[in-house]
Amino acid sequence: MAELTNILHVEDDPDIREIASIALGNIGGYTVVQCSSGPAALSKAPEFVPDLLLFDVMMPEMTGPETLTELRKLKGYENVPAIFMTAKAQPEEVEAYKKQGAIAVIIKPFDVMTLAGEVRGHWEKAIREAKPNVIPFLQKPGKSDARTNNDTPKTAGG
């Protein structure tokens, strides 16, 4: 089975970006590329195709679901599993996010110690349930060294 290695995390709150970076990168051992907005993620997208998309929902400029819709149009992003991580999580909203293509919804506040495991659990379940021929990144090499790549300085709020 393929391994979860690269995560594209889009979140407008700099504090939550920093926490998620430590939780997923330092504790989880994943390579985390972070963007502060939907447009930033779209401009970063052609550079690489992650194994998992982890999006905040309520963001200025473009919401998480809007960003996902745009990313799905890009080559290689058609079937990348996406998880929404949101504080706006009424039951009907969670259902709506799933209909918009999310494999799972992680409700804020999340547990930093278990976030990496939770994300992996959702990703593995999605991979097991998906048809192998529609998941092109399954053929990618195994997990690399953990590192975090932030596209924005700590003060950015966009």
């Binding site: 504090d15 939550i16 706006k88 506040p109 003060t155």
Partner: protein
């Protein structure tokens, strides 16, 4: 109706019996004595007819009139019920559970379906249109007809895509045809209110959970060895938790404030407030904040007393919200003009900044709760997104008005007007004249 017929029959019998009694007991014996046996039938008959003519108004008034009055009252009641049902906003129709034929339809229902009073009597439920499903309908009324349920109520979407609530009840009165009464109520407004409430709960939840995520996350990470052994990171995370705890506190205060103010749970004082003094005090109070952001205030028109009636502390809160907003959105070195002026029988306070201005798309919702021109600003420059909502509520509770003029790239002017308190000062004309004379002569630069 059958009761009234019975009454008429009884009245007629009583009438005939009366005539017979009159004839045989009172008229006939006397006629016999007077006219002899030969005229036994003729004259008594004439007398009887004469007596009947005389007594018939009495008989009418005594025996028949009460019953016709009752009938008229019953008909008036019926008309009243019909008018009432017709004027109801709810759509009501009565139909036969077997044939589905309409027996009654109020005006609102007829108007909705485009049928006249004569037309609906020839229609059945199937004629309503495609969205009526006979099988589903019969299934739904089955428990009513069987007596398992007294009534059913459910929500649906009508053909105009409006939310409606339908209540159906089975009526089976003795001697009458069984029928289904359907009451259709437009619940669009209620649904909108429910949606707004749900969105508010969701937004509040989002706003509270966001700083909580940072607090919980930062504190959670301080328990890991990697962070514990790195004093810089540890301090950074503790600072993050503290900052977000403050933000959470402000949010809770503002949410409670706006809710209590909106619902009238907070009583406002009704003191005499000198707006000139209030503006000067507000400038002093917010000067430190402005200095921190590298902006300064400039006041105009604050040398003469301008009296209004209101709650000094709450009006100070209005000033603080408008001035801190102006400071947040001003460029470094920017000037914020605070102007007090008179506008007829009102006093107007304006706060003008030279910031980026409000985009057209955000203008309509600028006073709505949790609205910020750019939500990322919340983290960058602080604020809960409730300040302008609170400001608007406070101004309106002072019988005042609030508004703004803004242009992208030029800046924004937020202003509020309060009715002048005339009893304790000169007439507005005198004040206005003096005001104009001193308005531009005294401008104070702060910061």
């Amino acid at each position: 109706m059958s009761n009234i017929n019975t009454i008429f029959r009884i009245t007629a019998i009583v009438f005939v019996v009366e005539i017979a009694i009159m004839f045989f007991i009172f008229v006939a014996p006397h006629s016999l004595q007077m006219f002899g046996a030969s005229n036994f039938w003729f004259w008594p008959l004439v007398d009887t007819v004469f007596l009947v003519l005389l007594t018939s108004p009495l008989i009418y008034l005594w025996a028949i009139r009460p019953f016709t009055l009752a009938r008229d009252a019953a008909e008036a009641d019926l008309r009243q019920y019909k008018t009432t049902l017709d004027l109801l906003q709810d759509k009501i129709h009565i139909s036969c559970p077997d044939t589905l034929k309409f027996g009654y339809m109020n005006k609102s229902a007829r108007r909705d379906l485009g049928w006249s009073e004569a037309q609906y009597r020839t229609k059945t439920l199937n004629d309503i249109g495609d969205y009526f499903n006979e099988m589903q309908y019969r299934k739904s009324i089955e428990p009513l007809v069987k007596g398992a349920l007294p009534a059913i109520t459910f929500e649906a979407i009508n053909r105009n895509q409006e939310s409606i609530e339908i209540t159906r009840q089975f009526i089976d009165a003795e001697g009458e045809q069984p029928r289904i009464v359907s009451i259709i109520r437009d619940i669009s407004e209620r649904k909108e209110a429910e949606k707004a409430k749900s969105e508010f709960v969701s937004t509040v939840s989002h706003e509270l959970r966001t700083p909580l995520t940072s607090i919980k996350g930062a504190l959670g990470l301080t328990r890991t060895d990697a962070i514990r052994n790195d004093p810089d990171k540890l301090e950074r995370l503790l600072d993050m938790a503290a900052t977000n705890a403050d933000r959470l506190g402000f949010l809770v205060d503002d949410i409670l404030d706006v809710e209590k103010l909106s619902s009238g749970m907070i009583e406002l004082r009704s003191d005499t407030v000198n707006l000139s003094r209030l503006v000067n005090e507000a400038v002093e109070a917010n000067e430190g904040y402005a200095t921190k952001l590298g902006v300064f205030f400039n006041t105009t028109g604050v040398d003469l007393p301008v009296m209004v009636s209101g709650d000094n502390n709450r009006l100070m809160q209005v000033m603080a919200n408008l001035m801190s907003n102006a400071a947040k959105f001003s460029p470094i070195g920017g000037q914020i003009e605070v102007l007090l002026s008179l506008n007829g029988s009102s006093a107007r306070v304006s706060v003008r900044d030279h910031g980026s201005g409000i985009p057209d798309a955000a203008k309509d919702s600028i006073f709505e709760r949790f609205t910020q021109v750019d939500s990322s600003d919340q983290r960058k420059i602080g604020g809960t997104g409730l300040g302008l909502s609170i400001t608007k509520v406070i101004v309106e509770r002072h019988q005042g008005t609030i508004g703004f003029i803004s242009e992208v790239g030029t800046g924004s002017t937020f202003f509020f007007e309060l009715p002048l308190k005339l009893a304790e000062q000169e007439s507005p004309d005198v004040v206005e004249q003096e005001f104009k004379e001193t308005r531009y002569a005294n401008s104070k630069g702060i910061g």
